[in-house]
């Protein structure tokens, strides 16, 4: 189980290469892996703090304190022990540059036209998985469009689409196992879709009816499903990152063959929770994947106003976290990256940061009109030239796994299902008023019971002021 990681010896380029797999670890039978190319490996990191045995601190041995250890470096450097390990001195006044001359390259496997790039490394997918990935991407796209239109028509109160990010959603989910726990932001319904959440269940949550697992308490797109290991969306940005680290810690304690996976956007990386969570995950050696959907915009804030680093991938190194930048609109690359990262995370019990570059084609939400802060041309270009669906479709068609007929069949079927799901969800009764007061605690305390009584009394005396579609 050799670990091959090359970090460049020069500070100029930080090229991160794919590692060699250990075949057979947690493998799923229908996926075979062909990672080629082995790279020379670094010596192991010094002083790795294993949280299991952490009693020794890095006190220098007495001898090295009283005399310098002389090492013959090219520039006659000296080395000294500090808390944290040995550090070489330099007589030159050198600042680490705020950015590298070249940006971190982005891993991709399919080119803009959906052709496989020669000599690309990727994890092979079977026809079954590839077709499911593509079908789910199409389903997600149709679902988003129909829900969005429904909101515009006044049938839904609110919606947020994931248009343009279907590959991130579906391909990353495909690379995980059902035991991996997901902590989403709010633009990842595709992960739920992959795991088996039905269109009806999505619609139920959006309409907040009595079949909603959230019992109608949250706004649309705040899905959650404990049986699918998808933790309920909490609207606050980046608060799910420390939660994911905690879940990873729990999995580590139970020694489970699973990891925690959390998603967030470029804007979320400015929150304090992002930095703290990455730091914690590194120190705890927690098996968690941090997947950043860098889609260029945080509502109206472009990434140039969000951070001044080379995107998000370089931030991983600051916390001691292995990172990779991926083309988020390349489903095959996303799949390979997440698959590899997951194995690394569980086998080596470490966090991994994945920056998926993509574009938010839709508005931030139905409360936003993004043409006010960006050009319609830019949106159109990404939707046409960089569309994740068309690229992947080209590839699966080239393998003979897809055709125009299957496409149109799928689209019409999904559209019908969606419209039916909408219709049913709209007509389904809302949850009972009692659900306003239950689940605040495990058992409603006296003050809540009292307050419920007061509400019911008010409704009794003013029935005309009370909505008619909420049962009592």
């Amino acid at each position: 189980m050799a670990l091959h990681l090359r970090s460049s010896s020069s500070s100029k380029s930080t090229l991160l290469n794919i590692l060699r797999h250990n075949l057979g670890f947690g493998s799923r039978s229908h996926v075979t892996r062909h990672i080629r190319q082995i790279l020379p490996h670094d010596p192991p990191l010094r002083g790795s703090q294993n949280p299991i045995s952490r009693l020794c601190n890095t006190m220098a041995e007495p001898e090295t304190l009283s005399s310098f250890v002389q090492h013959e470096y090219a520039n006659n450097h000296q080395v000294m022990d500090f808390p944290g390990g040995k550090v070489a001195f330099t007589p030159e006044i050198q600042f680490i540059s705020e950015s590298d001359k070249e940006r971190v390259p982005c891993y991709r496997v399919l080119d803009d036209n959906g052709q496989l790039i020669t000599n690309s490394q990727f994890v092979q997918v079977s026809e079954e998985v590839a077709v499911k990935i593509y079908s789910d991407m199409v389903t997600l796209q149709i679902m988003d469009n129909i829900f969005y239109e429904a909101q515009r028509q006044g049938r839904l109160s609110f919606y947020a689409t994931a248009i343009g990010e279907e590959a991130i959603n579906i391909a990353s989910a495909a690379a995980l196992t059902p035991q991996d726990v997901i902590f989403p932001q709010y633009r990842e319904p595709g992960v739920l879709l992959w795991r088996g959440f039905t269109l009806q269940e999505f619609a139920n949550q959006c309409f907040g009816n009595k079949s909603d697992y959230g019992k109608g308490r949250q706004m649309p797109v705040h899905y959650g499903s404990n049986k699918l290991n998808y933790f309920t969306v909490s609207a606050t940005i980046a608060t799910q990152l420390p939660n994911a680290v905690g879940a990873a810690y729990s999995l580590k304690m139970d020694k489970k063959d699973a990891c925690a996976v959390t998603y967030f956007g470029d804007g979320g990386t400015s929150e304090g929770d992002f930095h703290a969570a990455l730091n914690f995950a590194a120190v705890m050696e927690a098996p968690v994947l941090f997947i950043c959907r860098n889609n260029g915009w945080a509502i109206s804030t472009p990434t140039s106003d969000q951070f001044r680093s080379d995107g998000v991938v370089v931030k991983g190194r600051a916390y001691g976290i292995r990172s990779i930048r991926v083309d988020g609109n390349d489903a095959l690359a996303m799949y390979s990256a997440v698959h590899t990262a997951r194995e690394m995370a569980i086998r080596e019990q470490r966090p991994i940061l994945i920056e998926a570059l993509t574009y938010r084609v839709g508005h931030h939400s139905t409360s936003d009109d993004s043409t006010r802060y960006r050009s319609a041309g830019e949106i159109e270009w990404w939707n046409k030239a960089r569309n994740p669906l068309s690229r992947f479709r080209t590839w699966i068609e080239s393998n003979g796994w897809w055709s125009d007929k299957t496409e149109s069949d799928l689209r019409s079927r999904i559209k019908k299902e969606m419209l039916e799901a909408l219709r049913v969800a709209e007509k389904t009764e809302k949850p009972n008023l009692q659900n306003m007061f239950s689940d605040v605690y495990d058992v409603p305390p006296s003050n809540l019971r009292e307050q419920e009584l007061l509400v019911r009394q008010t409704i009794n005396s003013h029935p005309q002021d009370y909505p008619s579609d909420v049962p009592l």
């Binding site: 949280p51 299991i52 045995s53 952490r54 009693l55 726990v181 902590f183 909603d212 697992y213 959230g214 019992k215 308490r217 949250q218 705040h222 959650g224 499903s225 404990n226 933790f231 309920t232 909490s234 606050t236 608060t239 799910q240 990152l241 420390p242 939660n243 994911a244 680290v245 905690g246 879940a247 810690y249 729990s250 999995l251 580590k252 304690m253 139970d254 925690a260 304090g272 929770d273 703290a276 969570a277 730091n279 914690f280 120190v283 705890m284 239950s438 689940d439 605040v440 605690y441 495990d442 305390p445 006296s446 003050n447």
Partner: protein, 406 residues
Amino acid sequence: MSSIIHGAGAATTTLSTFNSVDSKKLFVAPSRTNLSVRSQRYIVAGSDASKKSFGSGLRVRHSQKLIPNAVATKEADTSASTGHELLLFEALQEGLEEEMDRDPHVCVMGEDVGHYGGSYKVTKGLADKFGDLRVLDTPICENAFTGMGIGAAMTGLRPVIEGMNMGFLLLAFNQISNNCGMLHYTSGGQFTIPVVIRGPGGVGRQLGAEHSQRLESYFQSIPGIQMVACSTPYNAKGLMKAAIRSENPVILFEHVLLYNLKEKIPDEDYICNLEEAEMVRPGEHITILTYSRMRYHVMQAAKTLVNKGYDPEVIDIRSLKPFDLHTIGNSVKKTHRVLIVEECMRTGGIGASLTAAINENFHDYLDAPVMCLSSQDVPTPYAGTLEEWTVVQPAQIVTAVEQLCQ
């Protein structure tokens, strides 16, 4: 009086007066032992206190004589009680250790809780016994490790999150309010968050403004959480255990100055009901509601009041959210006068909410307006003399009672 409150030197000596007060001994004349209300039932040592819904949180011994002075020397206790004596922080540690033994999902996380044993030694020895993973030292970010605890709780663990000082948990407010309090509700009951968030708070001995905060007033509005405050080794252990076993998120408020209180507690397993108040001293003339450290100031004042002929009923409310309006109500109906003594600030404190609740629910039974003694709305000064005057002193309590009972 000030010499009692401000003993010089280390915390162990300043509370020497309180150390010897056995909080379970009531200042009760024998004729008052026939109180039949549920929560005032007297349970003798050795009862099976695992009945959660019972008034089992109260332990009182009948063998009473009036303790005339504050500095009671601990006489050789030859009564038939078993039990062992320990300090409050040891009681917390014992409770925590017992729960960790009982349930492998219970874990601890916080700053310096591992081999350092915690800043107030509540987690001392636990890392050696349970390992570094189960007693986790975290980097310094309260929001992050509180968030971590919540995520771990949603995946099946039962974390006990320690804030080194409650004031630091202001940094965790986002996670506590938005995720801890809400996620059980917004997920439709799919995910439970059985965390315990605990730590020392309150005004200490010249710790400065930032380290003398009363977080209970800021947290009391958050829906979905429960808040309890311990004040004696007995209820500290009982509340700690009950909080860990509860499926709701519970915030356990300890007080920096109470960690060295000594008391004898039972050997057998027991818990204290999280929603119950504790009857410290039954009386007839006035109800004094208090919690945490102020309980001792009230009991100090109670001695003076008894000598002056008053008969105060002292209740340690213990449960800050929700209030135990049953016990409180019964008391109000009996005495018709209420004095609240708290360490929170005047504006928006626990006392303010309690005043509102009592006025709303028991207005007809009151012979006088509810009076509330609180700290002033100022940051706690560092200067010892000024700090003493931000906290309610026994003399003020005596004056207030005299005023109310005219």
